[in-house]
């Protein structure tokens, strides 16, 4: 897939090329991620959008090398992080990278924190594992510094608290603190705000933006919500049935959606700022991933389907500079 050629001054921190992650199940091979490519530049935010089952979470797990093997397997492709292909390295080497160069914030802060350790301990743990050069007595200070960075009020006293003593928003900030404690280059945020209230979500998104500005962090935002994409992302990859169907800058995607799926998704969301008479609704369901059709996976639900769509999967085609989509309509 021809990716964007616009990076002149920007340094690429992560390049994913033709990644395929499959799962062997009793129904056959589930092609959860089937040939996706993208790159991520320093300080930018990439949104990966799609519905449940489109492969966005498996993409995230592949990037972290957390795919359960078996049944899963990275079949082919490369993930180059900071000049190193992390698909090829050993588990021991990956354990060094995971958490220090690439970190993860997952959706539910209730399950990602350990209920029997204080939050101070949990932040310290990440620091002691990945930054051995820091002497033991200053680990605590470092942990408090990170907690202050995510705006935990009275960090000294709150560090002694256990997860159940904190509200959902606070807990998610602690998870964020652990994520950024080792100054990673890439932070993957998997729907980090879905369990939060709207005003708390706004606080959290602003915090992430501030941290990103301070430390030149690259963020991959995995979400199903175009609102979060509009607010947070520079570039967007839209996934459907294990593939990226459209990829471009956030304005390209919103102003000129070129894949029928992107177009349909955008017009099926109610708008805050204007009245909509009737929402467009995409009929049907996504196809099962173990039994994908030969051609385009969206063909059965597509309003502008052609004969060719059922025969062959479309190549990715350039819509404009840095904006690509996989649809025969663009040929």
């Amino acid at each position: 897939m021809a990716t964007t050629e616009t990076r002149i001054n920007t340094e690429t921190v992560l390049t994913v090329d033709n990644l395929r992650t499959h799962f062997t199940t009793r129904w056959g091979t589930v092609k959860a991620v089937d040939g996706i490519s993208f790159d991520l530049r320093r300080g930018e935010t990439l949104g990966i959008v799609g519905e449940s089952g489109c492969g966005k979470s498996v993409t995230m797990l592949s990037l972290m090398r957390l795919i359960p093997i078996p049944p899963g397997r990275i079949v082919s492709g490369s993930i180059v992080l900071d000049g190193e292909d992390i698909v090829q390295i050993s588990e021991q080497e990956m354990a060094q990278i995971r958490g220090s160069k690439i970190a993860l914030i997952i959706q539910d802060p209730m399950t990602s924190l350990n209920p029997v350790f204080s939050i101070g301990d949990q932040v310290e743990e990440a620091i002691t594992i990945h930054q051995r050069e820091i002497p033991k007595r200053s680990v605590m200070e470092k942990a408090l510094e990170v907690l202050r960075k995510v705006n935990i009020p009275a960090a000294e006293t709150r560090a002694k608290d256990y997860p159940h003593q904190m509200s959902g928003g606070m807990r998610q900030r602690v998870v964020g603190a652990i994520g950024i404690s080792c100054q990673p280059q890439v932070l993957i945020a998997d729907e980090p705000t879905t369990s939060l209230d709207v005003t708390i979500q706004a606080q959290y998104l602003k915090l992430l933006k501030d941290i990103q500005k301070d430390s030149d962090l690259s963020i991959i935002f995995i979400t199903h919500d175009f609102g979060i994409v509009a607010k947070m992302c520079d570039r967007v990859a839209v996934m459907y049935a294990g593939r990226i169907v459209e990829h471009g800058s956030v304005r390209d995607i919103f102003n000129n959606p070129s894949h029928p799926y992107t177009e349909a998704l955008l017009s099926s969301v109610p708008k805050m700022d204007r009245d909509v008479d009737r929402l467009f609704s995409i009929e049907g369901q996504p196809p099962p991933l173990h039994d994908l059709p030969v051609g385009c996976a969206f063909a059965d639900r597509c309003p502008v389907v052609m004969d060719k769509c059922h025969e062959q999967y479309p190549d990715s085609m350039d819509v404009s500079d840095g904006h690509i989509a996989s649809c025969w309509r663009l040929e």
Binding site: D225, G227, S268, V269, P270, D273, S281
Partner: protein, 334 residues
């Protein structure tokens, strides 16, 4: 939608079906095991009033803990209000006969957020949908099944689905089943508790459109509990914004979105996610979190987080004021 103009001449609008008058729900907090004493009250809902009219949708928005689910439970008679009254077609439901209460319960139905837990996994679809009729109506099995088929068609499923079990359906289809069950008794009011938030984006539009179509067909009133303002704008005719058990702003939907007036409503709107990257939004980031309803702040409950707080806000409780026809709010700024 011309709600603004029609408000004074109420005859243009549907008939009032349900009216909540000064509802309160306080949950006692007790201390001590043997000799327990009440040490305080959680004021989950604290003096709210609204009305529901046939064919209209009232949206209730607010953050978690604002009392919107408790309000829904009181509407469904799953909780009794501590004070205040619910009038159904002009009659106080809590001070009426058992028969009247039973008929109220069948006239007010519910669709819940999670269709994975609201349908009995051991029952076939036809039995799930027929169950309200078995309990409430004296009709034959054949008549029940005929109605089940009609309801299945109404919600976009077919007859062949009637013999399946809930686990054989996708999330969107299950929500359709829940809607069919809610419609079974020809209700006047349906309480929708976040009906689309557990569904996928592309399925949400299907369900929202279905709900609108069914409202037009059955002339039923909806009370929609939601947290997403965009959904509320699409679905509702009226919106009540709740904060810490109180309705801080109540308005026709168009008026609220063109002229949001309470500082909390403004903050909610600015916190809502934009629908386009270039959409202009006022940046109001509220500090802190919602205070505990056990010990709400003095004066106006919102004053500790309010960007426009004045001295009197921490002392005086603001009264309800009408700033435009039908548009009421509680704030000292007006």
């Amino acid at each position: 939608m011309t709600t603004l103009e029609t408000t004074p001449q109420k005859s243009d609008r549907g008939q009032v079906i349900l009216e909540a008058q000064h509802l309160r729900k306080w949950f006692p907090v007790t201390k001590g095991l043997l000799i327990s004493r009440v040490t305080g009250h959680i004021k989950a809902v604290d003096d709210i009033s609204f009305e529901l009219r046939a064919g209209e949708t009232l949206g209730v928005v607010g953050e978690s803990g604002c009392g919107k689910s408790t309000t829904a439970k009181m509407m469904l008679m799953l909780e009794d209000p501590t004070e205040g009254a619910i009038l159904f077609e002009g009659q106080d439901v809590h001070n009426s006969t058992t028969a009247a209460r039973k008929s109220y319960r069948s006239s007010v139905q519910a669709v819940f957020q999670d269709p994975w837990s609201s349908l009995n996994p051991r029952m076939r679809v036809k039995d799930i949908i027929a169950e309200p009729m078995v309990i409430n109506w004296n009709i034959t099995r054949a008549e029940q099944q005929e109605r089940v088929m009609k309801l299945l068609n109404d919600v976009g499923l077919n007859e062949y689905h009637s013999n399946l079990f809930p686990h054989e359906f996708s999330g969107g289809q299950r929500q359709r089943l829940a809607i069919a069950r809610a419609l079974a008794l020809n209700p006047r009011v349906i309480v929708l508790d976040e009906p689309v938030s557990a569904l996928d984006v592309s399925i949400r539009a299907q369900i929202m459109n279905l709900l609108k179509d069914l409202q037009a067909e059955y002339n039923v009133a909806y009370m929609l509990i939601a947290h997403d303002l965009a959904t509320v704008r699409y679905m509702c005719t009226w919106i009540a914004v709740m904060y810490l058990g109180q309705v801080v702003e109540l308005s026709p939907v168009q008026e609220l979105f063109t002229n949001p007036s309470h500082p909390y409503t403004k903050a909610l709107m600015s916190a809502a996610l934009p629908s386009h990257p270039d959409m202009e939004q006022e940046e109001i980031i509220l500090q802190g979190e919602v205070p505990s309803p056990l010990n709400p702040p003095s004066g106006c409950y919102f004053h500790p987080r309010c960007p426009a707080a004045m001295d009197r806000c921490s002392v005086d409780t603001p009264e309800v004021k009408e700033i435009a026809p039908g548009h009421t709010l509680t704030c000292h700024l007006f």
